[in-house]
Amino acid sequence: MISLTVNNKILKLDIEPQMPLLYALRDELKLTGTKFGCGAGQCGACTVHLDGQAIRSCITPVSAVEGKKITTIEGLSDKKEHQIQIAWKEFKVPQCGYCQSGQMMSASALLKQNSNPTEQDIESFMQGNICRCGTYKRIKAAIQSAAKSNKGMS
């Protein structure tokens, strides 16, 4: 049995320890907000937080995350929306939307470690997340806006 802490819930699963977290989330826990994109840690569609850090769940075995705090897009904010989600709506970022869970998880992890990122910081942190629709311009603008409003709050 593998014990996972996902979105503040402790869950016990009868799965192989080598199973990547992505498939445990999607197939076993039915948390389908986290997406499959490449299976090789190259596109960022599967990004979740592990103790607040962005990780690629498609190449992270569940055995490596036991006892740690996993957050998915479904748990990004408890009640009201996360600053990043508000900004994503304001800038109408998504086109097909498929990669956007991963984009938002990466962006929120970035802001957690760097509340005032430069354009270069954003590009460098976000270049692991591919958007084939090409919404990068709006992603960047949304992150900058969320950073600004965060500052106002703190």
Partner: protein
């Protein structure tokens, strides 16, 4: 009241899955002229429903892949209906021929169906107005619908749509000819940005894509397909695969004959209780393949063959005068050959579909651009008669990108074949490697252009040839040439003022599956054209803007059929959607002025521009690059678009932004290579696509226009790549004639 009826409540609920409503309108409208040749597609059917509280439900019959159609179609209906947008909800249509064409491709949803979609709203509005007129006992001309109410002009009284719904439901729909559409100046919703219908769900991570379907007792399949198209399994050993915990079975898929059509490629499927087990089981398969005839293919030697083909006279597509009787002044003549490699769609969501068979009922969930085509394929797979295709319930999910890949239903039939074989619901998920290696690629292509700069500075005596595996080969493997409609994609429809010209094509064999990739042959034709015009400008020592304007000449309507070509004009009526040189020249000037492409730049920087009219829209692109130490950095990109009436401006801008990023991928990095019939690339490390750090500042310039709407999903792409390579030339004097750029420069 032919073709129009109030559908029964039961029919409507069955069709749409909508909860109880009072006023339900089903309308069959004659299709737009574009499809009038096809008898089977003679009806369009849209549904409006209004309940007693005034909530309006509209059906979107087109598929959403990120272009925003689930917003724009309802927006058009709501405009004519005079509905309050905040009271509108949208239901996705299942596959049903009653809706007319649901094939979401060719950037056609709005450009081909604008009027018919509007009529649906207008007919419903007319009936609400009639209902109110009846209540007030006045003539219908005395009332007017506005923002969810019908108003009595003289008294100022009003009745809400919700109250009127039950009365309207009892009326006979009007003759559609008598129903007036709004004039453009009365639009209050068309041309306004409304919130995307799916925005909240997407941002919450709750939007449902094909890969997200979950059913009780469902199995997940991962399929090892023949590495070479047409290959077969010689023998296989599944014993190790079956030992993996969670693997339920290993199934050999049926062999599919040529022509490959858009049917599955066959192979060996591992079905398991979870995705990971299916993937791990598949790794343990031992398969010996018979690679078949296509094993001989090597894309690099094939590219050279195509170059050699286009450098010799081809098969006439159309011509004017006789270029071959002309004596070219070699000094003033430019000849150039351009190539584009195989390109893959690589949508972020790989192909996926789920099928469930219970008794004689088959239910499918798929991210498909073409629900009815898929439905027909499933019916055929199940041995149903064509007229019984409706027995297959095909649910359309959101697509995580598509770009043409998901027009093809191969992955859907795979799910059905496996659901049948296992007796359980099966979800087929393609890995990224599957997607890269077994795609329907944009064809590797060579284009040749030759023209002469005359003593008076005018360009003439144009020869334009192309050669590439035609998409028609999918459906008939004897096909060696593109259809006229494929040759209408930025090839034999040039808007130039020339006295003598020849368009030619060559016969070409096919080895991998060719397919429609966002803007199709406009990718290679647009690259060649945009590059050649820039090369002519350089040779003639004039600006690229001037070369374009001179080539185009006076304000007029260009008619490619004058030279004997069966021009398809993207299935649009040429009278309504003409090749209007005034609009083209306006765009060339607009992009040049907005981007300031003639400004003086520091050493090592350059601007490039290009243009292509495609899918009924006019798009110009401008790119600024820096070339330093063999590295290209893209600094700034612009597109200017004249797509006629704009329904949702922000989504048009989003499509143009996306097209610039897609075009960047094509220009800089996108290349599928093949050796021994096997695709070499496998994932994003060797098939790179644009990432955020490669994207410069992007600008979109929308032309305000009253013209009928053109397409928007594809037309942004073709001018982008040549604008980039032209910029590289002006920055470095290095001319890129063979894409992608990363063969020569770091990107």
């Amino acid at each position: 009241m032919k073709n129009i009826k109030n559908v029964s409540r039961r029919d409507f609920l069955k069709l749409s899955g909508i909860a109880a409503s009072t006023f339900m309108l089903g309308v069959n409208l004659p299709t737009s002229k574009a499809q009038a040749h096809d008898d089977s597609a003679h009806e369009l059917n849209f549904f409006v429903s209004i309940d007693t509280s005034g909530e309006v439900t509209l059906i979107c019959h087109r598929s959403e892949m990120g272009q925003g159609i689930r917003t724009s179609v309802p927006q058009i209906i709501a405009e004519e209906l005079e509905a309050d947008w905040s009271k509108v909800s949208v239901v996705q249509a299942k596959a049903d021929k009653k809706y007319g064409s649901q094939g979401t491709a060719g950037s056609a949803s709005i450009r081909s169906h604008f009027t018919t979609i509007r009529k649906m709203g207008a007919i419903a509005r007319d009936m609400l107005e009639q209902a109110a007129a009846n209540i007030w006992q006045v003539d219908k001309s005395q009332v007017k619908a506005k923002q969810h109410y019908v108003h009595h002009k003289a008294t100022g009284q009003k009745i809400s749509f919700g109250e009127l719904a039950k009365h309207a439901a009892k009326l006979t729909p009007p003759e559609q000819k008598t129903v007036k559409l709004k004039s453009n100046s009365d639009f209050s919703l068309i041309g306004k940005d409304v919130k995307q219908v799916d925005l909240d769900e997407i941002v919450a991570g709750k939007a449902q894509y094909a890969q997200d379907i979950q059913l009780p007792n469902m199995l997940i399949a991962s399929i090892q397909r023949p590495p070479v198209v047409g290959g077969k399994v010689k023998s296989f050993d599944a014993s190790e695969a079956k030992k993996i915990k969670g693997v339920v079975d290993v199934i050999q898929l049926k062999v599919r004959p040529f022509p490959v059509n858009v049917m599955p490629l066959s192979g060996i499927a591992v079905v398991a209780t979870n995705t990971w087990a299916a993937i791990e089981g598949r790794k343990k398969l031992k398969i010996e393949w018979d690679h078949g005839d296509k094993h001989v293919h090597n894309s690099e030697s094939f590219r050279k063959e195509l170059i050699s083909k286009v450098n010799s006279k081809g098969i006439k597509v159309s011509s004017k005068g006789d270029v071959y009787a002309h004596n070219y002044n070699q000094k003033n003549t430019l000849e150039a050959t351009y190539t584009v490699p195989y390109i893959n769609h690589a949508p972020m969501e790989t192909p996926a579909a789920t099928a469930m068979i219970e008794g004689d009922k088959c239910t499918v969930w798929a991210g498909t651009q073409n629900p009815q085509w898929a439905q027909g394929m499933v019916a055929q797979e199940l041995g149903l008669k064509r007229e019984d295709a409706h027995k297959v319930e095909l649910n359309v999910t959101l697509m995580g990108g598509a770009f043409g890949r998901k027009s093809k239903g191969d992955f859907i039939v795979e799910a059905v074949e496996l659901a049948k074989a296992t007796g359980r619901p099966v979800k087929v998920i393609w890995s990224r490697e599957d997607d890269i290696k077994h795609g329907f690629y944009h064809s590797i292509a060579a284009n040749y252009l030759k023209a002469e700069i005359l003593d008076n500075g005018k360009v003439d005596n144009l020869i334009s040839r192309n050669a590439y595996p035609p998409i028609g080969w999918l459906f008939n493997d004897k096909t060696k040439q593109p259809s006229d409609s494929q040759l209408s994609l930025g090839f034999a429809d040039l808007p130039f003022d020339l006295n003598t010209l020849s368009y030619e094509n060559h016969e070409v064999d096919s080895f991998v599956r060719p397919g429609w990739v966002r803007s199709v042959a406009c990718i290679n034709n647009g690259f060649a054209l945009g590059s050649f015009v820039d090369e002519l400008a350089v040779k003639a020592h004039v600006s690229t803007r001037k070369m374009w304007l001179d080539l185009i000449g006076s304000n007029r309507i260009v008619d490619p059929t004058e030279d004997g070509f069966k021009y398809s004009n993207y299935s649009l009526d040429a009278k309504v959607h003409p090749i209007d040189t005034k609009r083209i020249k306006n765009l060339i000037n607009l992009i040049s002025d907005k981007a300031k492409v003639e400004q003086q730049l520091p050493e090592g920087q350059g601007w490039g521009i290009s243009f292509l009219r495609s899918f009924g829209s006019f798009v110009a692109a401008a790119t600024k690059v820096e070339v330093k130490d063999k590295k290209v950095t893209v600094l700034e990109m612009h597109t200017a678009v004249d797509c006629g009436i704009v329904v949702t401006p922000d989504r048009v801008k989003a499509q143009m932004e996306g097209a610039m990023v897609f075009g960047l991928s094509i220009a800089l990095m996108g290349e599928i290579t093949v050796d021994k019939g096997i695709v070499k690339q496998s994932n994003f490390h060797d098939y790179p696509v644009t990432r955020m750090n490669q994207v410069p500042k992007l600008f979109v310039h929308l032309v305000d226009s009253d013209a009928p709407p053109g397409g928007i999903g594809e037309p942004g792409v073709p001018p982008v790549a040549p604008s980039i390579t032209n910029a590289i030339y002006h920055a470095s004097k290095t001319r890129i004639r063979d894409l992608p750029v990363n063969k020569v420069f770091q990107v």
